[in-house]
């Protein structure tokens, strides 16, 4: 699978963002995924979100595990450093990168196999540590790259292309996150860029671990009748009652629309999130009400999407650790070395 460079011929002058960059500057190599794969739509949303955020590509570090989903970082933001790591280990590697350089905006991309089976331990602990990063699970209910085995997110009754229907209860990353003390939990659908882009932007602004579970149909292995991760199923069963607007710190807040339980949350960096038209009894900052709401809909075979839970009050890993605001990696080593006088002095402790 060679990497294919995209032709860079703009058809009409493209709009630029605050940095003077066009959306093309946030793209990457040509995708080699199957035509129609949900993952490619998520790539497009990522491109859009970071372009809209006017984030310098060099400030972004994109990491992934292994899988079709984990290949995608090469398809977006070519000016960002990237790390296509090992199956299931991205969260741990991202934790180390965050430790070394907190100035980077870390964007992790993973699959449901990568995150909910082999890498579930690392995901859980990255949530627990509240490593500041955006973590996208491109959730298709199967192992795409190894040709369609059911994954741990497959719903009961889901029929793989070959073999028996699934009888084991699925792991829902949102429920996992709620129980692990996650501070930002969202679910979206790869086919819904309009919803996903603001969620991604809010996730970048979040001061901690932002988990986004994106249902992303695998057209080759899991888009048939009987699959709850198919385009058709999600379109028919999606519940989009939790609607969120993201207003970056620079802009005036105009988007606030009142309604049932409308609610505003100011993010760590000063940007503002408005939950509008949230259903009755639903409070995106209250873990219990979020859980009850999602479970209730799940019982009816419905998939709730939106920014579902948010806690901006938590401390990130670096805040807990009292690390300086600049990158540890940038401190010159000779400045970190205590030198001979200290060592000579220390030696008296070993007499």
């Amino acid at each position: 699978m060679p990497s294919i460079t995209k032709p860079l011929i703009p058809l009409a002058p493209l709009p630029t963002n605050d940095l003077g960059l066009t959306i093309r500057d946030y793209e990457g190599a040509m995708s080699t995924l199957c035509a129609g794969c949900g993952h490619d739509s998520i790539t497009a949303a990522i491109v859009q979100a970071f372009w809209e955020l006017s984030m310098p590509p060099r400030d972004i570090a994109k990491l992934s595990g292994i899988g079709c989903s984990s290949k995608t970082p090469t398809y977006f933001i070519r000016g960002a450093h990237g790390f296509n790591s090992a199956h299931g280990r991205m969260a741990a590697i991202a934790t180390g990168a965050a430790a070394a350089n907190r100035e980077l905006t870390l964007l992790g991309v993973s699959g449901d196999g990568d995150s909910l089976s082999i890498g579930i331990g690392h995901l859980a602990h990255a949530i627990r540590r509240n490593v500041k990063m955006v973590y996208v699970i491109e959730n298709n209910g199967v192992y795409g790259l190894t040709k369609g085995q059911l994954s741990a997110s497959a719903d009961i009754g889901t029929r793989p292309k070959k073999g028996e229907a699934n009888v084991i209860a699925p792991i829902d990353p949102i429920m996992l996150g709620l129980s692990m003390g996650a501070t930002f939990l969202a679910r979206s659908f790869s086919g819904d860029k309009e919803q996903l882009v603001p969620i991604l932007k809010a996730a970048v602004a979040h001061n901690g671990f932002a988990l986004i579970d994106v249902i992303s149909p695998c057209v080759t292995f899991n888009d048939h009748e009987g699959s709850t991760k198919s385009y058709r199923f999600v379109r028919e069963h999606e519940v989009k009652e939790v609607v969120t607007d993201y207003v970056p710190v620079r802009e005036e807040i105009t988007a606030t629309v009142g309604g049932r339980g409308s609610r505003t949350v100011t993010m760590h960096d000063g940007s503002v999130l408005t939950f509008r038209a949230t259903p009755e009894g639903y409070d995106p900052t209250n873990r219990l009400s979020v859980e009850a709401y999602i479970r209730d809909h799940q019982r009816h075979g419905e998939v709730v999407t939106g920014l579902l839970y948010l806690d901006e009050s938590g401390s990130s890993m670096h805040e807990v650790n009292h690390t300086p605001t600049h990158a540890l990696a940038k401190i010159p080593v000779d400045q970190l070395c205590p030198g001979s006088a200290v060592l000579d002095d220390l030696m008296s402790d070993f007499r």
Binding site: T74, H81, G82, T95, A99, H322, V333, L336, L343, R351
Partner: protein, 610 residues
Amino acid sequence: MTIDAAREVRVNDFAIKLANVNGTGSASANGLLMQAIFRMGIPVSGKNLFPSNIQGLPTWYEIRVNGDGHTARSLEYDLMVAMNAQTYGEDIGSVRSGGYVLYDDSWPLDAALLRPDVTLLGVPFAKMCLENFAKPRERILMKNIAYAGTIVALLGIDADLVAGLLAETFARNEALRESNQKALRLGYDYAVEHFDCPLPFRVAPMDKTSDHILIDGNTAAALGALYAGATVAGWYPITPATAVMDNFTKLCATYRRRTVEGEDGSISVENDYCIIQAEDEIAAIGIVLGGGWAGARSFTSTSGPGVSLMNELLGLAYYTEIPVVLFNVQRTGPSTGMPTRTQQADILLCAYASHGDTKHILLFPADPKETFEFAVESFDLAEHFQTPVFMLMDLDIGMNDWVVPRLRWDDTRTFDRGPVLTDEDLAGMKEFFRYANANADHVAARTLPGSDSKGAYFIRGSGHDAFGRYTERPDEYQEVVDRLKAKHAAAAAYVPAPVIQRRDGARVGLVTLGSCDLAVREATDLLAERGVAADYLRVRGFPFAPEIREFIESHDHCFVIEQNRDGQLRSLLALEAGVPLTSMTSALFYGGFPLSAGQVVDAVLENLEA
């Protein structure tokens, strides 16, 4: 040795063994004795032979005193301090003929245990403590200091010096200081009153340790990481490596913590380090990869089971060329093995850790001093070669206190960060490709995340070409892995050179590594007394320096002495140094205890005679 010879006066040349029950506080009393001898200027070693248990099982401590500096473990015990009734039989049985046994005669000793060739010294320690101390816990703890007092008298250790050490230790706790001093006196006075003190083997002050320190390897490793400027560490607790990170954490809290004043005048602390206790060793090494990729000096410390878990990501670091430092404080395998026993059985595991064609740089320190020096070196090597570097220590080095020359730091020392491109470098380049334009050591310059977009690249553990692009083409794939092989080979000129000691006319060569050092060097002296001149070579790094091959080829008989069952160093030498396996004879000691010279001599002589 006959009883009479054993009872001749012998100064600064003896070994004692202390048998205790673990979890009763004996370790501090035993350490105190060793420290006192060290402070008297005499070369000494202490080996803690402890169980994998928190309380109630037998544990031993051995002290070897040797004015000539032969302080490897000795199995010839002149004095057995038998404080554990569970192991009386074994302990009394292991004293050399003509030796002494010190025991608690608060209770009578089973007549079956008596030996005509051994002198029993009974002291009613338990009774003594019962009468003199009120609290139950104190009675148990002070028994240890009481027997230490007796030993101070028996060996002629400077009692004032010991009292001074206790005063230092308990400087801030008067009550404890008082009871310790009292217990010391009780034991000491009893000995002086009842026995001929000192015994024929005894200490006398020397001036051989004034420029030395008493330190364990795990502390030295942590100091090395501190001095190398490591800032990111990921780890998971495991004996015997845990103390590396405990010490690093403590050192960082002292030397890497700054107080900063906020704009509002508030005071807070800032830590120039980030130590993460991970969820497992896979995460620990993952954190190190992430940190190393992002440009921080990053490391982990672990032992065999941890290295097994880290294998996949070590291969990722090797193939993507990320600097990683891994301290492996080896313990006895396989599997859980014997967690509190020493071994050198991870040599092959570490040399080739991970699937596919992988080869790593290994450093083999012999003691805490080399551990400190090599630790600093390991961070330079990892960044110079952009690859994992293993510090292969072992439990003996890591957890025992060693007398070694003071650690020194040269403030003019510079750090080798390896080729890293800055934004300015990138500005002057037409294009950047991660693995292109390798230097003479076959290392290509890298960029760090956060650098100019021109230097951005997608690092991947999947097949890549010399430009870092995905490939499945045979020639492109091979070009990269062939360079990695050449890069590894180039490290031979950078790892610490072997230590070689020659004797006139030697036709026998003893090749060893790591903590076998003292025992094997002593063995060459003992062999010379027996008419066998043997040269000595200690391997200190892998890939192997060419001198090692020359040494093996130039001796009629070469023994490779190591602490594992399968002769792993010998195998690695045959595979990688170009010497036939059959040109080397293995001498293997893998029961889990530190090596003694006598064992080496026996193995060599037995083989030469055969």
